[in-house]
Homo-oligomer: 457 residues x 2
């Protein structure tokens, strides 16, 4: 059964690890439209971004020229501790599916944050420390980002306040414990601790919150705290830049064994793992020389690519962030509570949005019960309990492999397994007990969201 | 700071992975005394062991001659999926401690069972399947073994009933969910479902249970179920045999970079990770050619090595198992509830016991608050939230490194990090909230346990 030429796990040696991140903005033929200052409606300047973000991150956000950006040595050293992540040939899953396809996954969950999020968290904490900041604020959905940033802040001895989407905080009591163990402070969002939080609570009493709300609260808190900045774990181009480490390692590992992929798949919420995973692969797609297709997988409950509009929108519910041109359901879209808190976001990274809008990449939306079905199949064959978010990619990878079973094609399917589901057992329990439902927004639900879009072309 | 000659993580390639387990019983100058059939008080025969265990495992239990025992190819393939585990140089921890010592850890937690337990679980499930069995029973303390075996049974499509120590089941609600996701059935122990369970409940109403009780219940259940055997995750020599994969990989990795260890450290409960970790290192210790010392770390609340007797005892509270010559607190010793459920066992693997009794290895007992202090220091510097059990080894590794700081010695400290603490957040919360206490059994507590020892020389 096992093809002995390809090991089950491809690990890179330390000397093979990338020393540069990959900046997609440098290779886009048509760049995405610039972020706008919401007050002036003019393109955001370095000064605009630097009000909220660390200066080095603001510079990265505005870098449309350098294809490769050096990873600071300290961050490389930290990466050497948590990386490389293995590229694993899913021999056992292939056997269970009885498919002629070859399935590979890049597994990012082997650190305590449980996901790829630490790749950007450590970079952002490093730049904050370098700039002399003493504290950070952030938001978290599923809790992976909050955990990752609390780890990074513990490493650099910085204070951290995490606004955690309330529904996630309730589903995952132990997320709070792990963030606190790393010294972070957790506030369920929306909260009474900020103006914008109180306003949202008034407007939507009893809401489970959303990433959009939590972003607003964390931003407000950062602006009010001395020597503090706001950092975030997705959506922005600089986050995707840091996550390109995933794609770069994947590409080196594939090249090492002459594996030519046919399909690249990743789940997509704000776009950070997806963008990072595909980063070094898009140049060939844009140039028309790629033999592979790229698929982003989103939840049917929050379908910003497949049912969203490509428009300028705020990144947050409180309308405080710069305006981004992106695929969005509208900042006022309040996603239903689902078990994939990390994908409950109305918008999408501008690069990913532009690539999708220009037809370079595909997107598929899937129901959560089918996602968990795939997750359990994967867990039983590959020995890893995947995060619900990550399992969106598993679902489509399995679907592709099953298509190959019908056609006899030996496609090489490569997907990003962003993280583990150790903090999602309440979700698995619901799935096991068959009490999980599939919510799909109606046209009317979507209209409400679209009505919140700002009138900016 | 970083010694560039030694990478942060040493991974072995698939071709370097061991194809044989290491059998310490073959190289012991003085073998440990044989297990006795409790009815005849004669050495257990293959038939005796085969009543309860799979036949191949019974053979391994009685193998005192073969230094190397081949790992079945299917198990090797599975190992290739979950292994190799990295041997990591703890550069960041060294920096935080400001020690001249070099610290290395073999990290076994990168699979969903969260620990080394899967190394033996998959082997045991494989042999059970080969023998044509359709179901298995087992006990679990912290839940790591139960999770591992549920994964192995899912892989081989076998039914599984897990008797989980009640206090652990209550501390860790999500352990149940993950075992159930893998298709296992969880029963908190002691339970009303077995004769021995009902008897224990009568004798100790409201008890949190113990591994010894759970072993009794699982054994009874297996004997009553057709086509079913009992398997266990520690204590027996065949389990230590499977866990030798840890030590073998460690040794290959150390040799690859010419790292000569000064101290080898592992936590010790039933002895499986400890025995497996030290397996390929003991020959030199026995022959007097080793430059290193070996330290087992146990909880002060359950000190079977440091305060136990070396005597024949039952492996379970219900007095159903063969009699093993071991370091024991007595099968009637009821350990206090602690946050290291995996180390709450009255006895100890016979090989480990013999090595300790003969003075080849050292043992240290530590308080749980000091263990969690070490765990948090480690988590913040190395990015891995360790299991409380594993953190016993961290505590002593840190203590050794701090001694080096005083003396200026550049000792090479190597320890086994058996697993992650994702299911132990209630324990971390208690530590964070400073509500954790340190129980140490009184002489009277110990006497009660010793009084339960059978009168067998």
């Amino acid at each position: 059964m096992k093809d002995k030429k390809i090991p089950t796990k491809i690990f890179l040696s330390e000397s093979e690890l990338p020393k540069y991140w990959y900046n997609m903005n440098a290779v886009m033929k048509d760049k995405h439209e610039p972020a706008l200052n919401p007050k002036t409606l003019k393109p955001c300047t370095l000064e605009d971004f630097s009000e909220v973000f660390c200066e080095e991150l603001a510079k990265q956000e505005l870098n449309f020229t350098d294809e490769y950006i050096e990873i600071p040595e300290e961050v490389q050293d930290f990466y050497a501790m948590i990386r490389p992540s293995p590229l694993t040939r899913a021999y056992c899953l292939e056997k269970v599916l009885d498919t002629p396809a070859e399935i590979y996954y890049k597994f990012e969950g082997n650190n305590t944050s449980g996901s790829h999020k630490l790749n950007s968290a450590i970079a952002q904490a490093y730049y904050a420390k370098e700039q002399g900041l003493t504290s950070l604020t952030t938001e978290t959905g599923a809790g992976q980002w909050g955990t990752a940033l609390s780890m990074a802040c513990a490493y650099y001895n910085m204070d951290l306040t995490v606004f955690m989407v309330k529904s996630s905080a309730e589903q995952k009591p132990f997320r709070k414990a792990v963030i606190e163990t790393y010294g972070g402070k957790v506030i369920p969002s929306p909260s009474e601790t900020t103006k914008v939080g109180r306003k949202i609570l008034e407007q939507f009493p009893g809401t489970g919150g959303s990433l959009g709300c939590a972003v607003s609260e964390a931003t407000e808190k950062a602006l009010e705290t001395p020597n503090c900045k706001y950092v975030l774990g997705s959506v922005m181009d600089h986050v995707v830049l840091h996550q390109s480490i995933i794609g770069l390692e994947t590409k080196i590992a594939l090249d090492k064994y002459n594996i030519e992929p046919d399909v690249l798949i990743a789940c997509v919420g704000g776009g950070s793992n997806f963008g990072g995973f595909i980063a070094p692969f898009v140049k060939d797609v844009i140039n028309g020389t790629a033999k592979y297709k790229i698929i982003g997988v989103e939840p049917k409950s929050c379908p910003s690519l497949t049912r969203g509009k490509y428009a300028y929108d705020f990144g947050d519910t409180g309308k405080m962030t710069p305006l981004l041109k992106m695929c969005t359901l509208g900042n006022g879209f309040m996603p239903a509570v689902s078990h994939s808190g990390g994908l409950r976001y109305h918008g999408m990274n501008p690069i990913v949005s532009k690539l999708y809008h220009d037809g370079y990449i595909d997107a598929v939306a899937v129901e959560q019960t089918r996602v968990f079905e795939a997750a359990v199949t994967f867990a039983k064959s590959e020995g890893i309990l995947p995060a619900p978010e990550s399992s969106h990619a598993i679902r489509v990878a399995i679907d592709e492999a099953l298509k190959c079973k019908e056609t006899g094609e030996k496609k090489k399917i490569v997907f990003c397994l962003t993280g583990t589901g150790y903090f999602d057992l309440a979700a698995y329990s619901a799935y096991n007990a068959k009490t999980m439902s599939d919510y799909v927004p109606t046209e009317e639900d979507l209209k409400k969201g679209f009505d919140s879009l700002p009138a900016v072309e």
